[in-house]
Symmetry: C2
Amino acid sequence: MTTPAVREARPEDSASILHFINELAVYEKLAHEVETSEAMIEATLFGPDAKAFCLICEIDDEAVGFAIYFYNYSTWLGKYGIYLEDLYVPPEHRGKGAGKALLIHIASIAIQNNCGRFEWSVLDWNTPSIEFYKALGAREMSDWHMYRVDGEALQKLADKEYKDKRIKGYKDIRI
Amino acid sequence: MTTPAVREARPEDSASILHFINELAVYEKLAHEVETSEAMIEATLFGPDAKAFCLICEIDDEAVGFAIYFYNYSTWLGKYGIYLEDLYVPPEHRGKGAGKALLIHIASIAIQNNCGRFEWSVLDWNTPSIEFYKALGAREMSDWHMYRVDGEALQKLADKEYKDKRIKGYKDIRI
């Protein structure tokens, strides 16, 4: 078996990437949340304003896994970091080093770019992945909890920009 | 009292930003983790490759708070999102709407840029902030846990890129 090789994804990988995204969503029991498409992947990951980057892991020229990452920022360090949004290796290709090759490659990109951190999130029930990450030196940031505003709540929050300024003048706001 | 006004930070705000970062770190009991400097802030937030952005909230031309955000990416949505890395309003300026003005302004930027999400993390003991966020429509993503590799562990992981390929050929790797 050939050693896994990691390369930058290209626009023509969009169909494979969508396939991996859908499989990963099924594995994470979140298939109902997938709204992306081949066209959206191409526009967001390969357009002129792309801020997120995709890597493909191949064995014998076959795509056996993918990773998507972007740069985050640490105000404490005054440095950028890398955040791994997704990493997926289909079941039939596990045990061949593809996941580890992708993680190691991103760690190298982080070091080359003077990044202070390499971070990602994992679902709390995903014990095999958690054990794998710990074995690679990762530690859980257990005291930080993530909050999200999306959909209608996001639109509603954005709409306040004008409303609050015009009508209420922030008089009744607490923070 | 004048309504809080949010504007993009400029390089000459770097000293104020550092001051806010240090105060926030003391509030979060993480002052020992601050390594940044005025020069690092200027280089990372205002250099040609800046990927993170800073906003200043002013009342009567005085800086009363700041926020730092960057773009993250949702593979499910095929869209970018905004991640709020830091938000801080010093105690003497709370209750004037500065924090809310910053959050609303970032939500507007998210909507204008077709972002699907606006997210941030908060320390589990920081109840006043959590209550404030929930009141603005945010929900906790409690089943996701964050993992981090940094410092020596990051260097060690990056170093494997060459070592594993040369010596072990990934034979003994499980994922």
